[in-house]
Subunit: 199 residues, 2 copies
DNA sequence: GCTTGACTTTACCGACCGGTCAACTACAAT
DNA sequence: ATTGTAGTTGACCGGTCGGTAAAGTCAAGC
């Protein structure tokens, strides 16, 4: 295989792409190996199982998302609510690019895997749950800042952050179902307007 | 098989239960036949394919949802916004009962199938898309009524209804991921507060 | 130059997948 | 009594699934 520049990473990249654009169950180990240009034996040299690979894939997705969306949107030099709107815009642009590349709105990789496997694969469910908690926490920091500058008042910060995350996931799901990225452009910015009042 | 009280319906019931609690890919025809107490040949006497069965299952889910939630919540003798809150409460109670029965928050059967199959199975994607459109329409009628009685002003009715639907689906997804129905109780009522302002 | 061990290749495993088929049963119409 | 037909049965199909294992390659360390 020529020089084999990091076989493990090629497997991870191939799996990320295939699982995001199809589903966990529909993507077999053989298909991942084909795309990565690797034999099945090599696959199992690096990953003990398809499930374990998927856990690593989820880690990679989170790192990518943090770099491409969170770190670029949640910056201190704009107002908190504007950060959420910027996050919405970047998310739209990201999914729009995916649609141009693959012909499909692929939706959120975390939501996709959670929906498919939450009732069947406990390790994957836990991993996605943990990622959602981190996402909610990042949003919560922005909401907290928003309360501090007086943009929001009388809200339950944790519940509001969770509701914003839920709204984002729901909009992604509708956009995927309709295969229409403009839904993201039109609806996602409203996540900055969601509020759950303090109990 | 004794008197075989409507084999076709038993297949539909078994498939509905299994697909909702697991996933499309994870539930095989053999498992459906086992639960229904039917041989595989009988299955294919009534349904040309697993895909076709699933389309019928989706129809059944929509009828059930309409009877159990929509028709019970969207009644004219309470204020429009209160109808949405009632819808949220009934949805919580429904999922809470499912959790008691199965040990799991199963989420929305439409959202589950859309997320799993939207990029892979066009007939199923279209069917779910159509069901979402009907759901959005039902919500839109309530939003329209809400505007007419002056509860909401200056909003984009279609976009608001779609945002409410998205929020509901997102909250269901989070509740499924955390396997915690109280998320539905705490967050779902806020769907009545979502607004997308007129452009 | 030999050993070691990470990495790769290839053939293979049993289980299960969705789907097919020919034979059979039960019953209604003739 | 015979035929037509809806429904049912259970064996069977080729293909694919995730995963295993034995053999081989190759470069670094001694």
């Amino acid at each position: 295989m020529a020089n084999t520049p990091d076989t493990q990473q090629r497997i991870l990249d191939a799996a990320s792409q295939l699982i995001h654009s199809r589903s966990y169950a529909d993507v077999g180990v053989a298909a991942i190996c084909d795309l990565a240009g690797v034999q099945k034996g090599s696959f199992y040299h690096f990953f003990p199982s398809k499930q374990d690979l998927t856990l690593s894939v989820l880690d990679g997705f989170f790192i990518s998302m943090k770099e491409a969306l969170i770190d670029k949107a949640f910056v201190a030099d704009i107002a908190p609510l504007a950060r959420l709107e910027r996050f919405a815009l970047l998310t739209y642009q990201f999914q729009n690019q995916l649609k141009k590349d693959t012909g499909r709105v692929l939706g959120c990789p975390f939501g996709n895997l959670a929906t498919e496997l939450a009732t069947q694969d406990e390790p994957i469910r836990k991993k996605v749950d943990h990622i959602f908690a981190q996402l909610q926490n990042k949003i919560g920091e922005v909401v907290t800042a928003s309360v501090q500058v007086g943009e929001m008042t009388g809200i339950n910060i944790d519940a509001t952050a969770k509701a914003m995350l839920a709204y984002m996931e729901g909009v992604m799901m509708l956009a995927k179902t309709q295969n229409d990225p403009t839904i993201l452009r039109n609806l996602l910015p409203a996540m900055a307007q969601i509020r759950i009042s303090a109990s």
